[in-house]
Symmetry: C2
């Protein structure tokens, strides 16, 4: 299942640090690779300096800024992978919806998709036209990284993007988005397929531009029942994984969707991200032995002292085992975490060997 | 494990509708009982009329108002149990903290507990002094119910109350509350034990006043890892269940804590509430056969048409089986649900026989 074409492996060979690729391909590593979700972000003073100067979309759409932000955690914290600085909502934006991203407020889509008529305002775009700035950023990042570590590209899962496109803003329950799916399933599937088609082209474009690995973020997968997750989320993730997994190792992170680990592993994805609400033992049992697990440090544990963080990280690696495993948080790093604590997390993994 | 003293059973005998008690005691029923979390609330125009006239604490602390609101869903929607109209935050309030509950805004505790010095402001109160209005409301409700259906009393789990007492407001992650527990575990355990002692006295008072069943709400249990849930939540829920289960059937609802179903069943609780992110089959497998399961309708499915709601409810009952089961939602009813849809949910269960 988890084989990749020579291209991806060849890319791996140009890298000075290919731990992430090896872990995803099931090859033996001397220690697990480590990176952190939202590692390029607001816990870093260097990031905050840029945030205070440029709007979110300026940072996203200016390749030089996106590149600088992407590289910050590689330089400062020493992670084993860079992840593109961007946002999952660039896809709804490219499809035609207005998206406002105001720092510390959450996203707002003032004209959401809620009925058939609203489909007139959206399209499956030419990603080279609407999202070229992402591909330009990736090319620049790859050049600046110069093979130091691999670059992770990403996209939101269709279900999570639908949540925002229908609800129009963040929500604890996304009940309007769910009501839309339950009451108008034909429209929901039409929208999900449009997002899926856009996402496949978008991720292929990212890989072509140089992304070594891609991750699909289903932040709201855990809001669905197992049956609805299959119908409104996994069905589309499966299409995406099938379309890109031969081109680059692919990771699915569906927060809270522990109940579908077995089904997600069966998509042929190389890695599965998991949160801290499942033990490593149980996650491995459900996911099986032919997929790499990524996670699952409770982000709030980064408020412990550096010495205690190191102890907890070692416990975590012991529980997962060092092979077919990527050390990471179970969700994004929290804004108030001291940089020295993020460093302790990374150092603890590097000290494993 | 799940035996109750004659008192509770005797109470059951005075009831015209004792389906809930029978289901919790593992006795055979002709159909499952049905009620809905937050059934006395903002989807009911009769409730909104009172909300527009009286503040939250006026409604809570005036037995006549609490009684009227508690009875509304029994009269209007026809549920098989009443649940006391109150809020879990009356306990932190009784312990000495200021609590502001502003409708549609969420709770605010302006002076949270974050360091040792803050313990000077809190105490384990005499519940008969500080929470007598709850007991008065229960006596009045029991009188007005006149045995039509049983009355459920409730309290928040110590972990969930700590979340608010430390964070000072609602949060998606409760990272300050978690940081407090991880960094100052001795203080956290001191606070949790104070909440536990208060809660035991509070629930015993509710039962003495007439509550036929009690439910412990751990709304934020699912934010913890399995190990931390044991340390910061279940350890205290266990004390509470042990103290009250001989006096009245006891239900634990720890949202998202699917991973601890086995351990929660082992507390000797009579019922376990579950959300919709686990299949009935898996929930029964994890919880075992000696506990009653309660749930787990996705609250957003109440936006379906009444006919579709009935179809979904029947599917749910078939999956759980009608014995040792209480039909309910997997979380609170959403504010915009039409009353006719709530009625369809209840009717579908009543049509089971």
């Amino acid at each position: 299942m988890n084989t990749v074409e020579p291209k991806a492996i060849a890319v791996g060979k140009e890298l000075k640090n290919d731990l992430l690729l090896k872990a995803l391909l099931g090859e033996e590593v001397k220690r697990p690779p480590v990176w952190m979700m939202r590692q390029a972000g607001r816990y870093l003073p260097e990031y905050i300096a840029l945030r205070n100067k440029y709007s979110f979309f300026e940072r996203c759409q200016t390749p030089e800024l996106a590149c600088e932000i992407t590289l910050q955690p590689v330089d400062i914290v020493g992670v084993d992978a860079a992840i593109l600085f961007s946002d999952i909502l660039v896809v709804p934006q490219a499809m035609g919806l207005e998206v406002e991203l105001i720092e510390n407020k959450g996203p707002v889509l003032p004209q959401p998709v809620q009925q058939e008529n609203d489909f007139k305002r959206i399209t499956v775009p030419d990603v080279n036209d609407r999202l070229h700035y992402v591909f330009d950023a990736i090319k620049l990042i790859k050049q600046e990284l110069n093979g130091r570590v691999p670059l992770i590209g990403f996209a939101g899962a269709p279900w999570t993007l639908l949540c925002y496109m229908v609800q129009g803003k963040g929500s604890k329950t996304f009940d309007e988005a769910k009501a839309f799916c339950y009451r108008q399933p034909a429209l929901a599937h039409r929208l999900l397929q449009m997002i899926t088609d856009t996402t496949i082209a978008y991720l292929k474009g990212q890989i072509k531009a140089g992304a070594d690995v891609v991750q699909i973020f289903d932040s709201w997968g855990g809001l669905l029942s197992p049956a609805d997750f299959e119908e409104f989320s996994l069905k589309y993730i499966r299409q995406i994984v099938a379309a890109v997994k031969e081109e680059a190792p692919t990771i699915i992170f569906a927060k809270g969707a522990w109940f579908a680990l077995e089904e997600m592993a069966a998509t042929g994805a190389h890695g599965l991200g998991i949160d801290w609400c499942i033990t490593p033992e149980r996650a491995r049992k459900y996911a099986g032995n032919h997929v790499t697990l990524q996670g699952n440090f409770d982000p709030a544990k980064l408020f412990l002292s550096p010495a205690e963080i190191k102890k907890e990280v070692k416990k975590m690696i012991t529980a997962f085992g060092p092979q077919r495993y990527i050390a990471n948080l179970g969700h994004g790093i929290l804004p108030n975490v001291p940089v020295s604590h993020a460093k302790a997390f990374v150092e603890a993994v590097k000290e494993w060997a």
